[in-house]
């Protein structure tokens, strides 16, 4: 599925992060190759968002390390600012700024010149079906449109690695398909790491998925292999969701 993995772009080794008594990330090791769409799956509270924050340098790890393009990631690391785009799980937009204004502003914050940021913003707005809303303040957009704008803000500076934290949450089916196709199309040029607990989304988009729970890596493989392996072990075997439930259990999470 998609481009063949090439050199390793992102490597997390024995990553650990504790919040009080809770071990949010517990010895996690994964590597993501260039051009790969990598899914980080897990139930609520599994440690997905903490892992992303560690990868982005928004949190300092208690142990282990993250390397991006061979450079060690520390809080505020330059390599993250230069080469990574992050789409947070929440809708994080400036409500009083128009779609175009906030995209241009974000581009400028990444060091782009205003004219280049404007060109790139216009293109992104068109690609994500927001061209007609370019002069509308974000506060006046529907929830789905805000989600797409949230997504566009992660891409405006044309990063090499795109980290998406549950990008399809709150999207209607049409927007979900659009974003999914966009992610697949991006994979030709970019490395994508995204978190989700939507198995269908992961199965359709990801080259490989890692299922984590309580901060630990449970399994890592391609969606097809996961389904096959789990099927042989008698752990469901029909869908990725069966695998997920078999590995993480049926107990409800917070």
């Amino acid at each position: 599925m998609g481009a063949q993995p090439r050199r390793t772009v992102l490597e997390a080794s024995d990553l650990r992060k504790r919040f009080g008594d809770i071990m949010a990330v517990d010895g996690l090791s994964v590597s993501v190759a260039e051009g790969e769409v990598f899914g980080l799956l897990g139930p609520n509270g599994a440690g997905k968002s903490t892992t992303i924050n560690l990868i982005c340098g928004l949190l300092a790890a208690d142990g282990g390390e993250v390397r991006l393009f061979g450079e060690k990631v520390t809080p505020g690391a330059e390599v993250v600012k230069r080469r990574v785009g992050v789409c947070p799980q929440d809708i994080v937009v400036w409500p009083k700024l128009t779609c175009l204004e906030q995209l241009v502003f974000t581009g400028e914050m990444y060091g782009m010149r205003a004219a280049a940021a404007r060109r790139r913003s216009d293109a992104l707005l068109a690609e994500l079906g927001l061209a007609e809303k370019r002069k509308k303040p974000a506060a006046m957009l529907s929830g789905g449109m805000k989600r797409r704008l949230n997504f566009a803000l992660a891409l405006v500076h044309d990063p090499d690695v795109v980290i998406l934290d549950e990008p399809e949450a709150g999207l209607d089916p049409q927007s979900r398909v659009m974003v999914r196709e966009y992610i697949r199309a991006m994979a030709a040029r970019k490395t994508v790491l995204f978190t989700t607990h939507n198995m269908d989304e992961a199965e359709r988009v990801c080259d490989r998925v890692a299922i984590i729970d309580r901060g630990k890596l449970l399994i890592l493989d391609t969606p097809d292999n996961l389904k096959r392996t789990a099927g042989r072990k008698g752990e469901g075997g029909g869908t990725l969701e069966d695998v997920f439930i078999a590995l993480t259990g049926r107990r409800l999470r917070e």
Partner: protein, 387 residues
């Protein structure tokens, strides 16, 4: 330049939040207008009540003279430079009703002239103490009483001296430093109102920064190449622009209402704008310690009151000198930027000083701006950009 991008963004957001923008822009001019209205068009006229029991006395060749009436006229004749009366004199008869007026602060002071006031004033000086006294009554806790008392005494003393044909007990002359002349209360209060309004910028500076945190956009900015300097610098420039506009508007409104300045209003505006920059920097420091808009409104009251009460903006304050710098004293309250702005504005507006004459104060304001801004950048990085 990222600072300019943040500046443009902050201005746009502020322009689209008309309620908050108009609060900043219009607040001070509105204060000035309100004060002008309350001060009766420029100067406060203190209401004093007079119970004139003077029975008068017959003087050879002049018939019956009533010096009580003459004193009332002298009180009424006391005027500000612009011709407005300093005292609003009301002659009444009922002492109980007059006392009630004083208690309710409907009047600032009460003068009671004794029945033989005229006889006393025409008696030889050494015999005057035998007569019933002129009574000056009022609420000692009321500042207006103190002012009205001095004004009344000034008016009465002049009449009494002319009647008795004697000079004051010693020869003295008032001199005003820097050529300052007596000014109306409106003239005197405008700089204080201006400084107080500038101090309010603490809140409006902190709030946009806190909004970035509350709306989680700060998280987005943290993974960008934006530095704390870019963010704080851009927000500061936007607040400075808005504050500067407010300063200019305030002076325009004040002048339209009759405000008189001994010095250049452009020089005064420069001081106001530099003071704005320093208060904005204090606002940035405030934002470093706040996690929500509510916190800005609670924690922010500390610097607000410090700047208001201990800088001399609200009232004259005793200086607690720490050390001397050449001919200059450095006091504890000199770490509060408005302290220097209050002095500089007084020199310009009341004494006609030029910008060169307030160079020390401007230098101190600029230095404090740099110090507070640098502190804000350092603290913001540690309190808001790290987890």
């Amino acid at each position: 330049m990222r600072v300019l991008a943040v500046f443009r963004k902050t201005v746009r957001e502020q322009m689209r939040d008309l309620a908050s923008l108009s609060m900043v822009l219009v607040l001070c001019p509105l204060f000035v207008l309100l004060y002008w209205l309350i001060a009766g068009g420029g100067s406060t006229s203190y209401k004093i009540l007079v119970i004139n029991n003077d029975a008068g006395m017959a003087l050879e060749g002049q018939g019956v003279v009533r010096e009580g009436d003459r004193l009332v006229e002298a009180l009424r004749a006391l005027k500000y430079q612009n011709g407005d009366p300093m005292l609003r004199v009301e002659v009444v008869k009922d002492r109980a009703a007059a006392d009630e007026s004083l208690r309710n602060r409907y009047a600032a002071a009460l003068l009671v002239f004794p029945p033989d006031l005229s006889r006393m004033l025409h008696a030889p000086q050494e015999e005057r103490m035998r007569f019933d006294p002129v009574i000056l009554s009022g609420d000692a806790n009321n500042v207006a009483f103190a002012i009205a008392s001095v004004l009344s005494f000034t008016a009465l003393e002049a009449v009494v001296q002319s009647l008795g044909g004697y000079d004051p007990p010693f020869h003295w002359k008032e001199e005003f430093i820097g050529g300052a002349k007596p000014r109306s209360e409106f003239d005197a209060y405008v700089p204080g109102l201006l400084i107080l309004s500038i101090i309010l910028l603490i809140f409006t500076t902190a709030l946009p920064l806190i909004r970035e945190r509350e709306e989680k956009t700060l998280r987005r900015l943290r993974v960008s190449r934006m530095s704390p300097f870019d963010l704080l610098g851009g927000v500061s420039l936007a607040q400075l622009a808005i504050g500067a506009l407010s300063v200019v508007l305030t002076f325009l409104v004040a002048v339209a209402l009759g405000f008189r300045s001994e010095g250049s209003l452009i020089a005064a505006s420069v001081v106001g704008i530099v003071c704005t920059a320093s208060v904005v920097a204090v606002g940035l420091v405030t934002a470093c310690f706040c996690k929500s808009a509510t916190a800005v409104l609670t924690i922010g009251t500390l610097p607000f009151f410090l700047l208001m009460w201990f800088s001399g903006a609200a009232m004259p304050i005793t200086r607690l000198t720490l050390f001397h710098l050449g001919t200059r004293q450095f006091a504890l309250n000199d770490v509060l930027p408005p302290t220097h702005a209050v002095i500089a504005l007084n020199k310009i507006l009341a004494m006609g000083a030029s910008l060169g004459d307030v160079g020390y104060e401007l230098a101190m304001l600029a230095a404090l701006t740099v110090v507070y801004f640098a502190a804000a950048v350092w603290i913001y990085k540690r309190t808001q950009l790290r987890r």
